[in-house]
């Protein structure tokens, strides 16, 4: 079953021709770093277009709060490497990589800042800079970008984005980690498509951050963070 007979190679040839679009998924332009610009691409479109891009229309523009100020006091970029995407081409699930390309990103902090500024769509007033002591309906927020990476998977592009947040409110401090996942169709494997799926992953992470920030602004405690603990509770 693993023997690549001529017949199977011919089939592979046809698949390769059919998968020219997917093959071009490793047609990145790696010489220049990817200009990481956050765009609310899905949000500016109709709800159906947003859904096509994997963003729930409800989460994309849901108003979560009013009269809540988020003071973004610090944004750190602590990713393990500056590369934001890799495209790997293999002939089959059994195969090892035939080709590999990587894409470097240029400004993780600025990209994360762009996403945080866009939280205004949820009703927040977002300000950059220190605040001595947050007043009621205010939260100071430090954000660390831990992961932002995208890759090709079959006919799709997938991204993981991880943000760590530290909140300071009148009620105290809280720390959370937000894991965003983005996915979209891989049409041409271009740099811009990788940026879009990264933005989708960032949107997904920020959607959870926004919900928590709104709760803290309202003086409510945060629910348990989904993870092993929640899985354990659900399994009982």
């Amino acid at each position: 079953m693993t023997h690549l007979s001529p017949l199977r190679c011919s089939h592979t040839l046809l698949m390769a021709a059919l998968c020219a679009v997917s093959f071009s998924s490793w047609a990145l332009s790696p010489e220049e770093p990817l200009a990481m610009r956050y765009e609310q691409a899905a949000l500016s479109q109709s709800p159906s277009a947003a859904q096509q891009q994997g963003v729930s229309p409800r989460s994309a523009s849901e108003r979560l709060t009013s009269n809540c100020t988020l003071h973004v006091t610090r944004i750190d970029d602590r990713r393990a490497s500056p590369y934001v995407a890799n495209a790997t081409f293999s002939l089959s699930m059994l195969g090892t990589p035939l080709g590999m390309q990587s894409l470097r990103g240029d400004d993780g902090r600025g990209w994360a800042a762009g996403g945080l500024n866009a939280l205004s769509r949820h009703g927040f007033r977002v300000q950059t800079g220190d605040v001595a002591t947050p007043a009621p309906r205010q939260a100071a927020l430090e954000v660390t970008l831990r992961l932002a990476h995208a890759w090709n998977a079959g006919y799709s592009l997938v991204s993981n984005v991880v943000l760590q947040a530290r909140y300071t409110t009148q009620g105290g401090d809280a720390q959370r980690q937000y894991n965003g996942v983005g996915t979209r169709t891989n049409w041409s494997g271009s740099n811009s498509e990788y940026l879009t799926v990264l933005n989708l992953g960032l949107d997904d992470a920020l959607a959870d951050l926004a919900r928590d920030a709104a709760m803290l602004c309202a003086g409510q405690p945060l629910p348990p963070q989904p993870g092993l603990d929640a899985l354990s509770a659900a399994a009982k």
């Binding site: 046809l14 020219a20 590369y83 990476h149 079959g154 006919y155 169709t185 092993l228 399994a235």
Partner: protein, 289 residues
């Protein structure tokens, strides 16, 4: 456009015919020290949903259907992915690979003489890659390993897929090319929750151990294959182990039988095998059908 597609297809057809390129005796005779570069271009386990395979029928519409279904499955997996990605955030793929490479560099019995070894987070840009190959016109030779790490969607199996290529004498074509697939079951992974606990406890010690073992197995298989491909088979014959066998391999969430595998030998609790196409495998001894 059509000529491009045909040329691309011919390239890939050529690739599938020559994925395994053994080292010729005259090249082996000239092989001295090697500069090794290990490319691990991923920052996390890239959990990807499987496409249903409708596109195998051909055509744009089936490909779009596959893409749509794959994305739906990917979104369904998102919650599970989130739970595990965060827990594994501090695992450094390249650092774990480096541990094994360092050990082998210090091992006097290791047949591949590594003058240097680098773990890098990205494939070299084409110009730099070409320059590096051209530099082999004077020794040492240059070997690149492209390595991918995977966890099966149910978290029960850890897999690495590696392509090894060796350049010598300034030649643009590699004098050696091979693939190595390493697969190991996650111990204690009776269900998904148990698997997550096993993977994440002790700062991912179990997973780090597998990463180190996969690098070690991969390099050892490549090194012995370079030294003398026949040697790996003769050692198996000398030990009395069967020359041909079957095994099973996990692909995504399904176990697939593999037949007509040449036994290369065993290493501890692992069996080393080769497919008819030359792909080398390192599998649990328990992975017999």
């Amino acid at each position: 456009m059509m000529r491009w597609l045909l040329a691309l297809s011919a390239l890939l057809l050529g690739a599938c015919a020559q994925m395994h390129r053994p080292l010729a005796p005259e090249s082996r005779a000239r092989l001295g020290d090697v500069d090794l570069q290990v490319v691990v271009a991923q920052e996390n386990f890239q959990f990807s949903a499987q496409a249903p395979g409708v596109a195998a029928a051909g055509g744009l519409i089936p490909a779009l259907i596959d893409a749509s279904i794959q994305q739906s499955r990917q979104k369904e997996m998102a919650g599970q992915i989130k739970a595990i990605v965060g827990a594994l955030l501090d695992i450094d793929f390249r650092k774990e690979a480096a541990v094994s490479v360092d050990e082998l560099q210090r091992d006097g019995a290791f047949p591949l003489k590594l003058r240097s070894a680098r773990m890098v987070p990205a494939a070299l840009p084409q110009r730099e890659h070409a320059a590096r190959i051209a530099a082999t016109s004077t020794p040492p030779a240059y070997m690149a390993l492209w390595m991918q790490y995977e966890l099966s969607p149910d978290l029960s199996v850890f897999t690495t897929r590696t392509t090894a290529q060796l350049w010598q004498d300034g030649a643009t074509e590699p004098s050696y090319r091979s693939g190595v697939l390493y697969q190991a079951r996650i111990k204690g992974a009776s269900d998904r929750l148990a698997a997550m606990r096993a993977i994440t406890e002790s700062q991912g010690a179990l997973l780090r151990g597998l990463m180190q073992e996969s690098m070690r197995e991969t390099l050892q298989l490549v090194a012995f294959d370079l030294a003398a491909p026949a040697a790996t088979a003769s050692s198996a014959a000398a030990s009395g182990t069967p020359q041909k066998t079957t095994a099973k391999l996990k692909m995504l969430d399904a176990w697939a039988p593999m037949r007509d595998l040449t036994v290369l030998g065993t290493s501890g609790a692992r069996q080393r095998l080769r497919t008819a196409d030359g792909l080398m495998l390192s599998l649990d001894l328990e992975a017999r059908p």
